[in-house]
């Protein structure tokens, strides 16, 4: 990978950016440098009417030149508008306001459930994570985009030890029965690949492998039986336009240098 003209984090930002449609509203929480870069990039390329909300700061469309580390930084308030946090919570609960909710976790399972709470039993955790924050709202967002910077079998697991951010729960029957306003997880972006979910089984499915990554590598590093279609394309590399936008947004490499 030494010859690449872009970093893995930048490629992940491109995958997310391409997923965002013009006119949509997206939201993200803590440690969201890649999603924030992706949203700004989408605005600068194909989605000028995209709105995005930088989590706890309540900022709507941070101008982010340059990108910053913290989702609650006051630099985010150089923005089109800003809402008080309790109002952001109302938006998240509404059910029809947010098209895309960026989520993630210490563990992500095959149905797209996320866990930010603990590894092992909640009562005697092997590792205590930070907590659920706003992930319980996932079932009320139009689509969930899950991302992680660690694609391995400890992160991508058969079943989360604690469900703090519901995906398709225990599968299609249980999910359908709930009649939720959201459509559940739509995309998973990792350093190795992009994944979506099988329409019927609601199980995670390989969508594209990043340049230089093999399907076998992905399968090996995934802790559950991933659905692998016959033909798996390679994730298109960042275009010049995309890279130009990204580097204007993130000149110092806040996102780029992550992975």
């Amino acid at each position: 990978m030494s010859e690449k003209t872009y970093s893995t984090a930048e490629l992940m930002a491109c995958v997310m950016s391409r997923h965002l449609q013009d006119g949509e509203v997206a939201i993200m929480g803590a440690v969201s440098m890649i999603p924030m870069a992706a949203c700004r990039m989408a605005q600068e390329t194909h989605a000028p009417n995209l709105y995005y909300i930088a989590g706890g700061s309540g900022a709507v469309n941070p101008h982010l030149e340059p990108l910053v580390f913290s989702s609650c930084d006051d630099e985010n308030l150089r923005s089109d508008a800003a809402m008080a946090l309790p109002d952001v919570i109302l938006l998240e609960g509404h059910g029809k306001r947010l098209d895309v909710f960026f989520g993630g976790g210490l563990q992500i399972d095959k149905y797209g459930n996320c866990n930010l709470v603990c590894i092992g039993d909640w009562d005697k955790p092997a590792l205590r994570g930070p907590g659920t924050v706003g992930l319980p709202f996932l079932p009320r967002a139009g689509r969930v985009v899950i991302y992680t910077t660690s694609h391995n079998a400890r992160t991508l697991v058969e079943k989360v030890d604690f469900n703090s951010g519901p995906g398709f729960l225990d599968g299609p029957e249980g999910w359908a029965a709930k009649g939720l306003p959201g459509n559940g997880p739509a995309l998973v972006v990792t350093p190795l690949c992009a994944m979506d979910f099988d329409e019927k089984s609601k199980i995670m499915r390989l969508k594209s492998v990043h340049p230089g990554v093999t399907v076998e590598q992905v399968v090996e590093n995934t802790g559950f039986k991933l659905i692998v279609p016959e033909h798996v394309p390679t994730t298109p590399e960042p275009t010049e336009t995309e890279l130009k936008a990204l580097r204007q947004i993130d000149p110092t490499g806040v996102a780029r240098n992550l992975i």
Partner: protein, 299 residues
């Protein structure tokens, strides 16, 4: 007759308004921003025990330092961490070793709960779908269920949160307790509205705040505030919106210091218990603090 000012030192405010075993203490700020650290350090100096610590939806060193100092019996929180800098060392250790009771909840629980506490509402029912995570299974005392009288559905509820004391950082305040946030309010104003007693620390005391900014910007009314403490750089090592950014190097030093009891004790001694709050800024260094200050105001 003149109006009574509420200005006092951090020492006086904490000594007078916080009990030796505080029933429930809410600490403002979110992630590494607007943490009321001057007051929190003073809580540690005075060894105030905290029966229940209540955090904003995302706590940082405000909670972790109190936990490290061994003062917290139980914590109601949805997140303690250092965002891009990693996990919260003392929080993690206290939960993993069970030296502190954890009342686990989610972000809406805190927002709804404070709203209910502020408004005398018996509870707030959750939107449908928020009962699908595992929280109510491990915290059934706080997450309960009732009937939606309009649909007949069973709905999950959040209990009211009424902190006995809230510690909140405002950028500016007047001597009577009227105060404002220059940047994000997070859940700080909800804490002010829900708590029995409120101590505000402010970067600056401005006698005629409403004339300077317009009254609608001054949305913490003085009658809810018991004491106002002037605390320039009082959020350090976290940021104060509109005034200065967080001190990433110091936060990393803190996280490193938390690795052993000895290094943590040395940190506490050096930055907290060994000095009065008035000497804290000097210990960090004026140049360093000025370097953290914003070039201009973000709004």
């Amino acid at each position: 007759m003149g109006r009574t000012q509420k200005l006092m030192s951090a020492r006086e405010a904490v000594s007078h308004w916080v009990g030796d075993r505080c029933e429930s203490l809410a600490v403002g700020g979110m992630h590494m921003h607007n943490n009321p650290m001057a007051l929190i350090r003073e809580i540690i100096r005075q060894g105030k025990k905290i029966k229940r610590l209540i955090t904003s939806p995302s706590a940082d060193i405000n909670a972790d330092l109190l936990i490290g100092a061994g003062l917290v019996e139980e914590i109601l929180t949805a997140y303690v961490g250092f965002e891009h800098l990693g996990l919260a060392p003392n929080f993690r250790r206290a939960v993993e070793t069970k030296s502190m009771r954890l009342l686990e909840c989610d972000e809406p629980f805190i927002v709804y709960g404070l709203q209910a506490g502020a408004g005398g509402l018996p509870f707030i029912p959750y939107p449908k779908g928020l009962e699908l995570n595992d929280l109510h299974k491990i915290n059934p005392e706080m997450y309960r269920f009732t009937t939606d009288p309009y649909t007949g559905d069973e709905v999950m509820t959040a209990a009211p949160i009424k902190p006995s004391v809230a510690l909140v950082h405002c950028q500016e305040a007047d001597p009577y307790g009227n105060a404002l946030f220059k940047g994000s309010e997070f859940t700080d104003r909800q804490m002010v509205m829900a708590a029995d007693t409120v101590i505000i620390q402010a970067e600056k005391i401005v006698p005629d705040l409403a004339r300077k900014y317009g009254s609608t910007k001054v949305n913490v009314p003085g009658f809810l505030v018991s004491a106002v403490v002037e605390a320039p750089y009082g959020c350090h090592p976290t940021s104060s919106h509109g005034y200065y950014t967080f001190d990433e190097a110091h936060l990393k030093e803190y996280i490193k210091a938390c690795k052993t009891p000895e290094t943590f004790a040395a940190y506490l001694q050096h930055y907290v218990t060994g000095i009065p709050e008035e000497e804290y800024a000097g210990r960090i260094g004026t140049e360093r603090l000025q370097a953290l200050s914003k070039r201009g105001e973000s709004e």
